[in-house]
C-alpha cells in the first residue's frame, strides 16, 4: 500500500503527535497518585484510631504500667498471670466459648425463618420487617427490655411460665448461676437473628429459580433440593453469618453490661467485659492489654479458619458465575 494518500496519513499522525505535549508524569504514575490521594483520609483515620492503639496495646501487654506511672518492661509477666494465676480468665474464656452458641442457634433459626418468609405467603414483608426489627435497635435498649422480661417479680417470662403451670416459684433468671448465661444467649440470639435472616434471605434470592425447576425435573425431592442446591449455594451467606457471629461474640459488651454486668459472680462475664473491668475498674491497663492481645489472636484465628472453611468466599453474593 504505497499510495500517496498513505504518506499523507503518516504526515498527519506525526503532526498530531508533535502537537500533544508529553505529560509531566507517566499515565501509570498519575493513576497511582490518584488512588493514594483517595485512600489517604481513610488510611490516616485507620492508623490514628486502629493501628496505633493496637501497636500501643501490644507494647503495653509486655509492660508494667498504670496511669501516671513510668512504663517498665515486664516480659511475659502479664501473660503468665492470665495463663497460670487467674482462674477467672479461664472462666470468662469458657463463657465466651459457650456464648458462641449464639452463632449456630441463630443461624439455624435464621435459615428456617428465611426459608419461611421466602415462600409466597401473604404478609411476608411484614414478617420480614418484624424479624429484622430488633437488629437496628440500640443494644442497650434491648438489654434493658430483656432484663425486664426476665425479672422475677414483674417479668413477662416468669408470668407466662407460672400461668402455664410450668413453675411454682418465680425464677430470677439473671441472678441465677444456672440460667444467667443461657438467658443472655437467648437475648443475643433474638437480637442478631433478624440480621442473619436478611443475609440468608438475600442469598436465597440469589439462587436462580430455574435451578430448582431443573432439579424437580431431574427427580430431586424437596429435601434433596434443600441439601444439594439450597445449602451449597447458601454457603457464602452462611459463612458470612458465622464471621459476623464470631465478631459479635467478642464484642457483645453492651448487651452483657446492661443485662447482668457479668454477674452473678463472673457467670456471664465474657472476655470483653472482663477486659473492661480489669482496665477501668481495677485500673490494670497492662493486664487488660495482654488479654486484649489474646482476644485479638483468638478472633483472628477463628475468622481465618471460618474463611478457610468457606473456601475464601464468605459473603460472596454472586453465585451464578
Amino acid at each position: 500500500m504505497d499510495t500517496p494518500s498513505r504518506h499523507a496519513d503518516d504526515r498527519k499522525t506525526a503532526v498530531v503527535a508533535q502537537r500533544m505535549k508529553k505529560p509531566f508524569l507517566s499515565r501509570k504514575t498519575r493513576h497511582l497518585a490518584f488512588v493514594w490521594m483517595l485512600l489517604l483520609p481513610a488510611l490516616l483515620v485507620y492508623f490514628a484510631y486502629r493501628a496505633v492503639p493496637l501497636a500501643w496495646n501490644v507494647v503495653l501487654s509486655f509492660s508494667f504500667w498504670a496511669p501516671g506511672k513510668p512504663i517498665r518492661f515486664a516480659g511475659l509477666y502479664q501473660y503468665q498471670e492470665l495463663a497460670f494465676y487467674d482462674g477467672i480468665f479461664w472462666e470468662v474464656l469458657k463463657n465466651t466459648a459457650i456464648f458462641m452458641l449464639v452463632i449456630p442457634i441463630s443461624i439455624m433459626l435464621a435459615l428456617a425463618l428465611a426459608l419461611l418468609v421466602d415462600q409466597k405467603i401473604t404478609g411476608r414483608n411484614i414478617y420480614r420487617t418484624i424479624i429484622f426489627l430488633p437488629y437496628p435497635m440500640m443494644v442497650v435498649a434491648v438489654g434493658i427490655v430483656w432484663r425486664w422480661l426476665y425479672n422475677d417479680n414483674v417479668g413477662l417470662i416468669n408470668y407466662a411460665l407460672r400461668s402455664m403451670g410450668l413453675i411454682s416459684r418465680p425464677i430470677a433468671f439473671l441472678e441465677s448461676y444456672d440460667f444467667a448465661l443461657a438467658a443472655v444467649i437467648a437475648a443475643a440470639v433474638w437480637q442478631i437473628l433478624g440480621f442473619f435472616m436478611i443475609i440468608i434471605l438475600t442469598g436465597l434470592q440469589n439462587i436462580p429459580p430455574h435451578l430448582y425447576e431443573a432439579a424437580r425435573i431431574d427427580g430431586a425431592r424437596a429435601h434433596h433440593r434443600f441439601w444439594r442446591i439450597t445449602l451449597p449455594l447458601l454457603r457464602p451467606s452462611l459463612f458470612l453469618c458465622v464471621i459476623l457471629g464470631v465478631i459479635a461474640s467478642f464484642t457483645s459488651f453492651d448487651l452483657i453490661y446492661t443485662m447482668t454486668n457479668g454477674g452473678p459472680g463472673h457467670a456471664t462475664d465474657l472476655l470483653i467485659t472482663y477486659i473492661y473491668k480489669a482496665a477501668f475498674t481495677l485500673s490494670r491497663f497492662d493486664y487488660a492489654a495482654a488479654m486484649t492481645v489474646v482476644m485479638f489472636v483468638l478472633f483472628l484465628a477463628l475468622a481465618l479458619l471460618t474463611n478457610r472453611l468457606a473456601g475464601g468466599d464468605a459473603g460472596k453474593v454472586d453465585i451464578s458465575d
Binding site: I217, G219, A220
Partner: protein, 358 residues
C-alpha cells in the same frame, strides 16, 4: 418415546387467561416446534407439559396417560432451559449425573451413561470443569447432556439457542437435529425464531396471543398459511400484504388499479380482502405478462444487495411491497417499476377474520 396431547388446555394467572383452550396432538418421535412472538404463551405451554406450571383447565396426556396431577420427576421428561440452569457448584460430570442419582442407577451405570452422553456431545474433556469455566456453547451442550443421559420419553427445549451468537446458533441447530435423528425422542421445542422453527421442525405450531394459529409442516405453514398472522410471521422478509377490494370478478387495490383479473375462484364473496404474495415469488416484469401472471406498478424505495440476491423495497398504493430479485437488477431507488408474480402463488385473506380464503 411417547405421544403428547394437549386437550382444551387453559392457563390462567389469576383472572388473566394467557392460554386459551389449546388442542394439539404430537406423534411419537415427532419434532414439534412451538413458534410465535414474545408473550404468546409458548413457554407457558411447555412448562405445563413439564409440570412446572399448574394446569388451569383441560388435560395434558403423555403416552396416553393424563399427567395433570403428576409431579415433574414422574413424567419422564427432560428439559433444556434458555439460561441452561446448570448447577453452578457442581462439575459437568455431577451436573449430568444428578438426575441419574435419583433414578436408582448405581455408580457404575451412572459413569457409563454420563461417559456415553459426553462422547455424543463432545464433552469428554470438560467433565471436571465447573459451568462458569465453560463457554456459552459448551454450557449449552452440558444442558443437553443432562437431558439425554436419562433416556427420557420427551425432550423439552425452551429457547435453548437464544443466548448464543448467530454462528454458534447455526451449528447447534444442526447438532440438535442430528441428535433427534439419532435418538428419535419426541421433542417439543419452543422458539420465537422462525428460522429455527422451519429448519428443525417436523411440524410447526404457530401461536399467537395464547391460541394456535396453524399446525403444519414447515412447507405447509410457508406455502399455505391459514391466517394472516401466520402469513406475516413466517418468512423473511415477510409476505407482502396489501389491502384490496373484491367486487366479484376483479381484485382492486385501494387506488383503484386492478390487481388480478381472474381471482381463480378465490373469494367468491365480494368485500374487503388482504392480498398477499411472497417477495421471493415476485420478479421484475419484462415484456407482456405471460398467462396466469399479474403485475403491479410500484415506486422503488430502497435496494439492498445481499450478495446472493437483492431485496427491493417498494410501495404500491400506500403499502410496502418487497421483491427478492437476482443481484443484477436495473431498478433504481425513486423510479417506478413493474413487478410480476404468478397468480397461483398469491394468497387472499378475509380482511376482517384474517382467515385464508381457499
Amino acid at each position: 418415546m411417547a405421544t403428547v396431547e394437549f386437550s382444551s388446555l387453559v392457563k390462567k394467572y389469576g383472572p388473566l387467561e394467557v392460554v386459551h383452550s389449546i388442542d394439539l396432538a404430537i406423534r411419537d418421535g415427532e419434532f414439534v416446534v412451538l413458534v410465535g412472538p414474545s408473550g404468546c404463551g409458548k413457554s407457558t405451554c411447555l412448562r405445563m407439559l413439564a409440570g412446572l406450571e399448574e394446569i388451569s383447565g383441560g388435560k395434558i396426556l403423555i403416552d396416553g396417560q393424563i399427567v395433570n396431577e403428576i409431579e415433574p420427576r414422574d413424567r419422564n421428561i427432560a428439559m433444556v432451559f434458555q439460561d441452561y440452569a446448570l448447577y453452578p457448584h457442581m462439575s459437568v460430570y455431577e451436573n449430568m449425573a444428578f438426575s441419574l442419582q435419583y433414578r436408582g442407577f448405581n455408580k457404575k451405570e451412572i459413569k457409563t451413561r454420563v461417559a456415553a452422553a459426553a462422547t455424543t456431545l463432545g464433552l469428554t474433556d470438560l467433565l471436571d470443569r465447573r459451568p462458569k469455566q465453560l463457554s456459552g456453547g459448551q454450557r449449552q451442550r452440558v444442558a443437553m447432556g443432562r437431558a439425554i443421559v436419562r433416556d427420557p420419553q420427551v425432550f423439552l427445549f425452551d429457547e435453548p439457542l437464544s443466548n448464543l451468537d448467530a454462528k454458534l446458533r447455526g451449528s447447534m441447530r444442526i447438532e440438535i437435529k442430528k441428535l433427534h435423528r439419532r435418538l428419535g425422542v419426541t421433542t417439543v421445542y419452543v422458539t420465537h425464531d422462525q428460522v429455527e422453527a422451519m429448519t428443525l421442525a417436523d411440524r410447526v405450531v404457530v401461536m399467537n396471543n395464547g391460541r394456535i394459529e396453524q399446525v403444519g409442516t414447515p412447507e405447509q405453514v410457508y406455502h399455505h398459511p391459514e391466517t394472516l398472522f401466520v402469513a406475516s410471521f413466517i418468512g423473511s422478509p415477510t409476505m407482502n400484504l396489501v389491502p384490496a377490494e373484491h367486487d366479484g370478478t376483479l381484485l382492486r387495490l385501494n387506488d383503484g388499479s386492478v390487481l388480478i383479473r381472474q381471482p381463480e375462484n378465490k373469494a367468491a364473496q365480494p368485500g374487503a380482502k388482504m392480498f398477499g404474495v411472497r417477495p421471493e415469488d415476485v420478479t421484475v416484469a419484462e415484456g407482456p405478462p405471460p398467462e396466469g401472471h399479474s403485475e403491479v406498478e410500484v415506486v422503488v424505495d430502497v435496494i439492498e444487495a445481499l450478495g446472493a440476491d437483492t431485496l427491493v423495497f417498494a410501495t404500491v398504493a400506500g403499502s410496502p411491497f418487497a421483491a427478492r430479485v437476482p443481484p443484477a437488477t436495473r431498478l433504481q431507488p425513486g423510479a417506478s417499476a413493474r413487478l410480476r408474480f404468478p397468480n397461483d402463488k398469491t394468497h387472499l385473506f378475509d380482511a376482517d377474520t384474517g382467515k385464508a380464503l381457499a
